[in-house]
């Protein structure tokens, strides 16, 4: 079994979650090689063969060319698996590479089964086991699902090249928005999710945060809808937090939210759905209507 791992580089730096690809390959006992469009000055700590294409030549993000470069490395390496991270780079490029190879693609792999792979389904509430039926298989791995394996040494670099231009023109990066409030220092965070129903209910959640001496957090839809300002957002596209106590109010527990809060000391979830995936990380799951339970709790805390 041979796996071609797709490393990622942004603005000249290797992205660390690429080491999870190495961890995955170790877990399944596959031989590996890596390919990356990046820069010589920031190579991964990986001891195998690295097909390197220069980002200065092929663009920070030029999916048509990056696809061709990966296909060129596939041609030379003849892997059984082509493995991406399930990231903005991976989910963008993997289907292009799969289409090019006429290969099956399995997205957001979280585990392996006897003859296939385990994938999340229905917003993480369920699982699917999937068996690919093509000789080469393209995978994207859920971030955090496999352990990162670092410190593998120095790669033996081989150049990989291609020609032509692409149909997508990279213009620039925009830095993350400046933070309004820094949730990282909060000892207690009480977060509002879509389950609170409407903007008018935000003060009810904020009142519980205050009663517990903490800060207000939020899931993404609450922020996208403009109920709460962006600096309160917890998750992969918000802040990563680890307070002593995290209270999730009407939050389902999508992987992108969990990634931002699962290291919290103690997690309480209030959800009317006993099967909500937040239950997987919660120390206490209160099965209740959030707008009935939260005011009752706040009132008792005030006594």
């Amino acid at each position: 079994m041979k796996a071609l791992l797709i490393g990622e580089s942004r603005d000249g730096s290797f992205l660390e979650y690429g080491y999870e690809l190495v961890g995955f390959a170790e877990r399944i006992g596959a031989e590996t090689a890596m390919v990356m469009v990046g820069q010589e000055k920031s190579l991964p700590g990986y001891g195998g063969k690295l097909y390197l294409a220069d980002a200065a030549t092929y663009g920070e993000y030029n999916p048509d060319l990056h696809k061709k470069l990966i296909l060129a490395a596939v041609e030379r390496e003849k892997p059984d698996l082509v493995v991406f991270s399930h990231s903005s780079y991976g989910w963008d490029l993997a289907p292009r590479v799969a289409a090019g190879l006429k290969a099956a693609q399995l997205s957001e792999v979280i585990g392996t089964t006897g003859d296939g792979y385990e994938l999340p389904s229905c917003s993480q509430k369920m699982r699917r086991s999937v068996k690919p039926a093509t000789p080469v298989v393209v995978l994207t791995l859920q971030l955090g699902a496999f352990p990162a394996v670092t410190g593998g040494g120095t790669p033996q670099v081989e150049r990989v090249e291609t020609e032509g231009s692409g149909k997508v023109i990279f213009v620039r990066y925009e830095a993350a928005e400046a933070k309004g409030i820094d949730l990282a220092k909060a000892e207690v965070i009480v977060s509002a999710g879509r389950g609170i129903g409407k903007a008018d209910n935000v003060p009810v959640i904020a009142a519980l945060a205050k009663a517990l001496g903490g800060q207000l957090g939020a899931s993404r839809p609450v922020v996208d809808s403009g109920w709460v300002e962006h600096s309160h957002q917890v998750g992969t596209t918000g802040q990563t937090v680890s307070p002593k106590l995290y209270v999730a109010c009407g939050i389902s527990g999508a992987i992108q939210h969990l990634a931002g809060m699962k290291k919290s000391g103690f997690i309480v979830a209030i959800n009317k759905d006993k099967d909500a995936p937040i239950g997987e990380v919660a120390d206490v799951l209160v099965v209740a209507d959030v707008m009935q339970f939260v005011p009752a709790l706040t009132a008792k805390l005030a006594k």
Binding site: G100, R127, T140, A282, L301
Partner: protein, 258 residues
Amino acid sequence: MKILVCIKQVPDMESRFKPDSAGTWFSETDLAFRMNEYDEFAVEQAVRLKEQLGNGPELTVLSMGPDRVLEAVKKALAMGCDRGVQIQDPAAHLKDPWQKASAIAAYAKNEGYDLVFTGFQSQDRGSCQVGVMLAELLGFACATTIVGFEFADGAVTVKRELEGGVKGVVQLKTPALVTCQLGLNTPRYPTLPNIMKAKKKEILVLPVGDLLHEEAKAVTTSFHAPAKKGGGIVLEGEVGDQADRLIQILKEKTGVLR
């Protein structure tokens, strides 16, 4: 200009899911279906573009699936799409993303679309593949996970959402396909007059057999609930009582309450 939006109909994610008799997908009994959340952003953006261009463009909404998907198509028509297409396939849930993209491409390839909008992912399947594969099959420029969209002088400029709050601004020449991420816009609610108007709009029904000639590249062998971690305490019952028990637990297990 011709615009296509691809939408999927999915179950409400707050439902309880049970495997179907084959054990490879969910049973539809007791499920309520709605338009895939990500696709609502796609429809909204397409309608806004049509409005921006003085309603000139012709805007088609397409969904592949059993007849229930017509409900989602009708919602998109009420939001402002001009005509609907159903790729009629009672067994769409057994098709893999490559097959879905192939069927849609077989329909779209001779229609002369300039722009295609899809969602970033379907909430039930979550593969993030159908849109990008469709672009590959059509030879269109493609950008994924967009949270900003502008159209001027025949060129599309989008903002892609990357990790850690960083965004990437990229340009695409038409024909192009974009996949829409949460927060791209605020999808409108169809108004009653528009719902009435939508009833008169044409929906073309195309049997999948006429469009799809590709085999599946992967098969689902099992659909099941995740193994329960089970460490957590579950509090049920009356609200006041639940609150008392939670306070007790917080006193015992965290340093937060004294």
